[in-house]
Amino acid sequence: MRGLWQHFLLSLRLNARNRHALAYGYLMPVFFLFAFASVFAADTPPLRGQMGQLLVITILGGACFGLPTTLVSERERGVWRRYRLLPIPVSRLVVSALLARLVIVVSAAALQIVLARLVYGTPWPEHGWLLAVGVLASMIAFLGLGLLVAALANDVPSVQGLGQAIFLPMILIGGVGVPLAALPVWAQRVAGFMPGRYAVEWLQAAWNPEFSAKQMMFDGVALVAIGVAAGIAGIKLFRWEPAARRPRGATKWALGSLAVWLAVGGLAWQAGRLRAVLPEAAAWETIAREQIERITYEDLPGDNEVVTRLAPPLEGSLDDPRAVAFAKGLQTWQPGRLANAGQSIRNLVALAAIADLCQDRCEAEMARLVFDRLRTHFDHEDLTRGLAWVILAPDEGTVVRQAPELGLSRHPPERAIRQRSILYAQKFLGRIEKKIDEAMPALGRTDRP
């Protein structure tokens, strides 16, 4: 035990003596702090919305580069070969090295938090315990990956290559460097298959006044599962010999640990956790009454024209079984029942647009059914804002491109759906705002007297 304690302390001391390790472990996090502060200078309070990302960058760097660089460099020097002769299992020394790395990374994260507070006035985290547990869960995930990188890398330059293969995707499209809301929808979905997204989500929650315990639970389990799987593979493939070849089955173990990423992403997808994140500025709630009132309804195509057909109010039962199935499916259609009402409204309007673009034989009835669904499912305020958002910010949010579960299997171009959605949203909003009389529906440009 005394030896392990000595090894733990020495690992910290040797890190402090290594200028490169100090620069990478402490200067880089500070550099990222200043860089984020200048990029997000307009936010108030400063950096409060980016602390999760900043901490994950630090943890990712320390665990996926710092740890394997140290382990592989010591292996190359024959240090681990010498350790093998000690009267304890090498795995205990590995654990000691992991704990030392935990202390190094936590100290760098603490430096970021304190500097953000002192230099930019960033508030302290709202939930300290959430931050502590989140850092621990993130460290488990990324130290596990670091251990696997150390086992797979033949030398220190290989550590850089393998580390970058994990680091860069998470920074660029994993929601760690570039905020999720700034990413295209496909990248946001891909991010759901990477641990970085869950680590950021958790750590950022520590700065938010409210958080979802259910969400935290999923994030925590995802991080620990990814870390444990990679850690087991890392220990299984661990090499203490300087010139040892990569063990047999290394690729299988590495792929096996990556399969957990896929499983986590798949579960998140299935549970509807990978819904698109909207940029703050584009939130539909910010649409003001004045903006809604400035919307005009002239020049809309007629309800019986080729474009944007809309059936009159439905009375009695539907005749066409296709329309009946659509009406039934609409009641439980998940994209129309999201927690984000604005996005749900956009998704529902998109259904009418898709049916119209595909010239479905029930396009007019489907549009009417969508309108009825909108009126019955959303309150007036949300519905007017949501429809106005579709009209005023057609490129924001995500858009549904097909709904085979509702019989709409073809997928028109996204641009066309967004454009057609504007017209339907205008027709719907005009009726709700009583600017279009249901008894005298919008006149087509060709119908105008």
């Binding site: 005394r2 030896g3 392990l4 304690w5 000595q6 090894h7 020495l10 001391r13 040797l14 003596r17 290594n18 010591e74 020097r77 024959g78 240090v79 070969r81 010498r82 093998r84 002769l85 000690l86 009267p87 304890i88 300087p242 010139a243």
Partner: protein, 315 residues
């Protein structure tokens, strides 16, 4: 320095029986038997690739043999049970920023009753460098530190893999003294070496290893046998082998381009024969060297191959 007498203890501290180790089907060790008693230094002498390092690693439990057993103090080393064994490995190293004092304290921390780090620093002449970074130490100082680390657990068995490789003669002599001190304290020492002279200086017994087999094992003087001198003659023309016929002291003559090499128990009759032949033939003798027969000579004779035909280092 003459080898110390054999230890009186009859108990073998290290027992290696029928050890076989193969790499990719090629036998690095092929049925090795070896016993070492307390207070005895046994040397493994052989070319690169003879199997020395593999044998040491099997003894230390770093490699699992394909067949055979290694027992240290009646404890199976392959099961990883704790035994007081110290080791210095050829390719083991330390972190650049670690100091000798820290290294000794670190390794001492893993044992119940370790040697005191300060005492080891004193004994190995590392006091002045106690707080210097490992990277700044000379090769000799590094080797002394590795030997000190090998002794940190007060071992009864000491395994050293080419401990003086790459050292200058003074550092080599210093290290020899330290190894002999360890033996004097009762350590059973198993060391590998590439130097016949070192084996002769340090070892009570020497095992000549080639292609994974011990060809011969005995004390250095017994290995050399009564034919203890080698005479190398360079002349034009080269002396005929027949001039040494009839000399009972001569054990063998090896013709070489521009001369010959004669193995003999007494060089005087050989030199007289060469002188007579040169006068009679008017030959020009350009060089005559007389030296004791070395262990390298024995290796060459036993294997039938020149000394430096090394294969893979460290196997």
């Amino acid at each position: 320095m003459p080898p110390a007498p054999q230890a009186h203890s009859s108990a073998d501290l290290v027992e290696v029986n029928g050890l076989v180790k193969r790499y990719d089907g090629v036998a690095a060790l092929d049925g090795v038997d070896l016993h070492i008693r307390a207070g005895e230094i046994v040397g493994l002498l052989g070319r690169n690739g003879a199997g020395k390092t593999t044998l040491l690693e099997c003894v230390l439990g770093l490699r699992t043999p394909d067949a055979g057993t290694v027992r240290i103090q009646k404890t199976d080393a392959n099961r990883g049970e704790a035994v007081r064994v110290g080791a210095q490995l050829q390719t083991a190293g330390l972190q650049d920023h670690l100091t000798p004092r820290e290294a000794l304290m670190l390794f001492a921390g893993f044992y119940e009753q370790p040697a005191k780090p300060d005492a080891l620093l004193r004994r190995f002449g590392l006091e002045e460098k106690a707080n210097a970074k490992f990277a700044t130490l000379s090769t000799g100082q590094k080797q002394r530190l590795f030997l000190a680390l090998a002794l940190v657990n007060r071992p009864q068995v000491l395994v050293l893999d080419e401990p003086t490789a790459g050292l200058d003669p003074v550092s080599r002599r210093d290290l020899h003294t330290l190894i002999l001190e360890a033996r004097a304290e009762g350590c059973a020492v198993l060391l590998s070496t590439h130097y016949g002279e070192e084996a002769e200086t340090l070892c009570d017994r020497v095992a000549i290893l080639d292609q994974g087999r011990i060809l011969k094992m005995d004390t250095p003087s017994a290995l050399r046998g009564p034919v203890g001198t080698v005479v190398t003659i360079a002349s034009a023309p080269a002396p005929a082998v027949e001039i040494f016929q009839g000399l009972p002291e001569v054990a063998g003559v090896e013709p070489q381009p521009g001369g010959c090499v004669v193995r003999t128990s007494d060089p005087v009759p050989v030199l007289a024969a060469v002188t007579r032949w040169a006068e009679a033939r008017g030959a020009q003798v350009t060089d005559v060297r007389v030296r004791p027969r070395s262990l390298e000579d024995i290796v060459v004779e036993l294997t039938g191959r020149p000394w430096e035909t090394g294969t893979v280092e460290g196997v």
